[in-house]
């Protein structure tokens, strides 16, 4: 289980997350739970849309991870303080997989998970 951020675009730990659909799907659930979907949901437009293959802050593994963890404006100085490293790996894998998901598929997965906590209505523990 990784405790640290990727050490570059070609980190050897990436395959275990990016090429494993279970890990990608787990990332999707965290994406919802941490409230990412409230801005980056499937109807997001422009730079907020993560499924359009346009990466404003770079689309490489370390760039996506690094932006969420260190520089994302949604949390003071990024999400690294709030989200454990492995979950960040999973969320990164999910986000980088989004362009491969057709709109119907993404909508269908969201439909199944509509009962899951969505950021603001999370009732579990908060770090």
């Amino acid at each position: 289980m990784p405790q640290t951020a990727p050490n570059g675009a070609q980190d050897s730990r990436a395959a275990a997350y990016e090429r494993n659909l279970y890990q990608v799907a787990q990332g999707g659930r965290y994406f919802t739970w941490y409230g990412c979907g409230s801005c980056h949901g499937r109807s997001a437009k422009g730079p907020l849309n993560l499924g359009d293959r346009v990466w404003v802050h770079g689309g490489a593994l370390d760039q996506v991870y690094g932006f969420i963890a260190e520089r994302h404006p949604g949390a003071t100085a990024g999400y690294a303080a709030r989200i454990p490293a492995e979950q960040l790996w999973q969320i990164t894998a999910y986000v980088r997989n989004l362009p491969r998901l057709t709109p119907e598929k993404r909508r269908r997965q969201d439909l199944d998970q509509v009962g899951e906590p969505q950021g603001s209505n999370w009732t579990g523990p908060v770090r």
Partner: protein, 632 residues
């Protein structure tokens, strides 16, 4: 036989029905006995594999806090065990027994649709490979033997594990439908002259009823797994409540099949029991009409109680009440049958050879399973015990007790007919005591574990729960039963070469299959027997009456009327063909492709259409006279 064939006629007949030698014959055969033997050998292999999985799981549960299996491996193990035993073992083996026995019991040379039987096996084999080849490369379904959405839906079951399970079902259900249509048509239209509906042997009745149940229930599960695949592959919303779908629909359709399936497995077993009890009591079955009507009653009721698998779902109260009553009502016809068998044994002169021992083991075990079933059928009690080991104990008692024990008895009973040699009685009795004793030792404690609150599908438990000692006993019992299973298979293997020679009728049976040599020649009967009673071999002691007139120089069978079995016409029976194998391969390509892309349905239809056209290409010469004459 009144009119033995001349040697030239006998040779001609054997040539007409012979398979090609070697591999080509193996791939093209339409002989019901060879096809059934394939089914049975495949089932034995799968029973061994799935049995080893069970033993593996029992070792994991033998002590508290064991870590030899991860939760994921445990999930995969019970999913594979359940799916294999239900879809690839229990139902197919009963069909295999029908494919093997029904033509022999009806005095026929072939099934109604010989090529369909071959197609059925190849497709079944496709289903077996669909589940076990992915398992070998680590893509094992892991959501249990019924994969409820939304857990199996696109949001929670990424990858192809759920697709593999769903498509394996489609394979086996198409195979089962093919086999059932074949058996039902054979029973209705190909009985020997004189075998009116009232003179059909109970086993043949049981297979015809189970076949009809299959035809009515299996489309539901094929539909529902296809809907699941559609939800996962092309994002339909059948089971997504947020878009107006309903996950409960999956459960209704699944159990509309799932409950009748239990009786599709049990009724043929009741047929085995009836035949064995009759032969070994040396008297006609007590209450033949009552037994047959009970089977029909069970078949009708079986379609009215699927909701007892769903009491915990939260359906309306009245629904639960109705299905509780219907579930308890099944105990009536089932009990009636058991009393008929006991009455037959009681009033006969029973001979306690191995096949009858299995029947006695069945009666004891199945009654326990039936009683726990009546308990579980009660909705308020079920709310407490659902998804506990009580249910695990109950369904193993009814499935192993109600189907596998009679099946083993049937195996011992008909083994000499299939191989020409008797199985060893000593090894047979050893296997009997090991399996029945080990099974009861292994599974009875699970009732108690369930009442103590141990849930199903947990990969381990902590010591403080106090479930350790009973689980250890359960594991010991399972190991003993597995050892008994190995003794049984070893006995069958050894007896094939070294068993005592059986002759045509080692047990003094009453039905037509005992009139032919063991093993039966490929065409089964030289002449079609004529039947005047339920037990033709007992009432026509000197010589069986026969009907002559079927051709020896080509494959011909007799078609008779549905009610009275009066001869109607001679029907050409198809020759061996490679088309069933090619058709099954084309279906396999279509099915496997369609878990990856919906276009497989379109492009896969092309080779399938080609294979079916080759299969059904007309073989009759065009007419030379009359309005349909060939124009020149």
């Amino acid at each position: 036989m009144t009119a033995p064939l001349t040697p030239e006629q006998a040779d001609r007949l054997a040539v007409s029905w012979r398979d090609a030698p070697g591999l080509w014959g193996f791939l093209t055969t339409v002989d019901h006995k060879r096809i059934a033997a394939r089914y049975i050998l495949t089932v034995v292999l799968l029973m061994f594999l799935a049995g080893m999985l069970a033993l593996d799981m029992r070792l994991q549960l033998a002590w508290p806090d064991m870590g030899r299996m991860t939760p994921q491996l445990y999930n995969e193990s019970f999913s594979l065990h359940g799916s294999t035993m239900l879809f690839l073992v229990s139902v197919p083996v009963m069909e295999a027994m029908a494919i093997w026995l029904v033509p022999l019991m009806l005095g026929q040379r072939a099934l109604a649709f010989p090529r369909l039987a071959a197609f059925s096996y190849w497709l079944y084999l496709g289903g077996v490979l669909m589940l076990w080849v992915p398992h070998a490369v680590g893509i094992t379904p892991d959501l249990g033997w019924f994969e409820y959405p939304p857990l199996s839906g696109p949001g929670y079951a990424p990858g192809h594990r759920a697709d593999i399970w769903a498509q394996m079902i489609t394979f086996t259900e198409v195979a089962a439908l093919a086999a059932s249509v074949n058996v039902v048509a054979t029973v209705l239209k190909m009985r020997p002259p004189g075998m009116t509906l009232a003179r059909i042997p109970v086993f043949v009745w049981s297979q015809a009823i189970a076949g009809l149940m299959t035809i009515f229930s299996l489309p539901a599960v094929m539909l529902v797994t296809s809907m699941l695949i559609a939800d996962r592959l092309v994002s339909t919303q059948f089971f997504a409540p947020a878009a107006g779908g309903d996950p409960i629909l999956f459960q209704h359709l699944f159990w509309w099949f799932g409950h009748p399936e239990v009786y599709i497995i049990f009724l043929p077993a009741a047929g085995f029991v009836s035949m064995i009890v009759e032969t070994f009591s040396r008297r006609t079955l007590f209450g033949h009409v009552a037994v047959v009507l009970s089977m029909l009653g069970i078949a009708a009721l079986a379609f009215g109680l699927w909701v007892h698998h769903m009491f915990a779902v939260g359906l309306p109260r009245l629904g639960n009440d109705f299905y509780t009553a219907a579930s308890m009502a099944v105990a009536l016809p089932a009990g009636l049958q058991i009393f008929c068998w006991i009455a037959t044994l009681w009033s006969g002169r029973p001979r306690f050879d191995t096949p009858l021992l299995w029947v006695l083991g069945f009666i004891a075990t199945f009654v326990i399973g039936g009683l726990s079933g009546v308990m579980a059928a009660s909705a308020p009690l079920d709310q407490q015990i659902t998804d506990t080991y009580f249910i695990v104990a109950h369904f193993h008692y009814v499935l192993i007790g109600g189907a596998i024990l009679p099946l083993l008895g049937a195996f011992c009973y008909w083994y000499p007919k299939a191989t020409g040699r008797l199985m060893s009685e000593r090894l047979g009795k050893l296997a009997f005591w090991l399996i029945v004793g080990g099974f009861n030792l292994g599974f009875f404690p699970m009732h108690l574990l369930g009442l103590m609150g141990m849930p199903r599908r947990v990969y381990t438990y902590s010591e403080g729960m106090g479930w350790g000692p009973l689980n250890l006993v359960a594991t010991l019992g399972s190991a003993i039963a597995v050892a008994g299973g190995l003794v049984f298979v070893a006995n069958a293997w050894w007896s094939r070469r070294h068993g005592a020679l059986a002759g045509p009728d080692p047990w003094g049976g009453s039905t037509l299959e005992w009139a032919v040599p063991s093993p039966p020649p490929q065409h089964n009967f030289d002449h079609l027997p004529v039947v005047d009673s339920l037990t033709p071999l007992w009432t026509q002691k000197e010589a069986l009456q026969v009907m002559t007139g079927l051709a020896v120089e080509r494959r011909e069978v007799l078609v008779t009327s549905v009610i009275e079995a009066t001869p109607e016409y001679r029907q050409k029976s198809p020759k061996p063909s490679i088309a069933p194998l090619f058709s099954a391969l084309a279906v396999t390509i279509l099915f496997i492709g369609s878990i990856f892309t919906p276009w497989a349905l379109v492009w896969g239809a092309v080779p399938l259409a080609a294979a079916l056209i080759a299969w059904f290409w007309p073989q009759r010469e065009r007419a030379t006279t009359g309005p349909l004459a060939v124009r020149r």
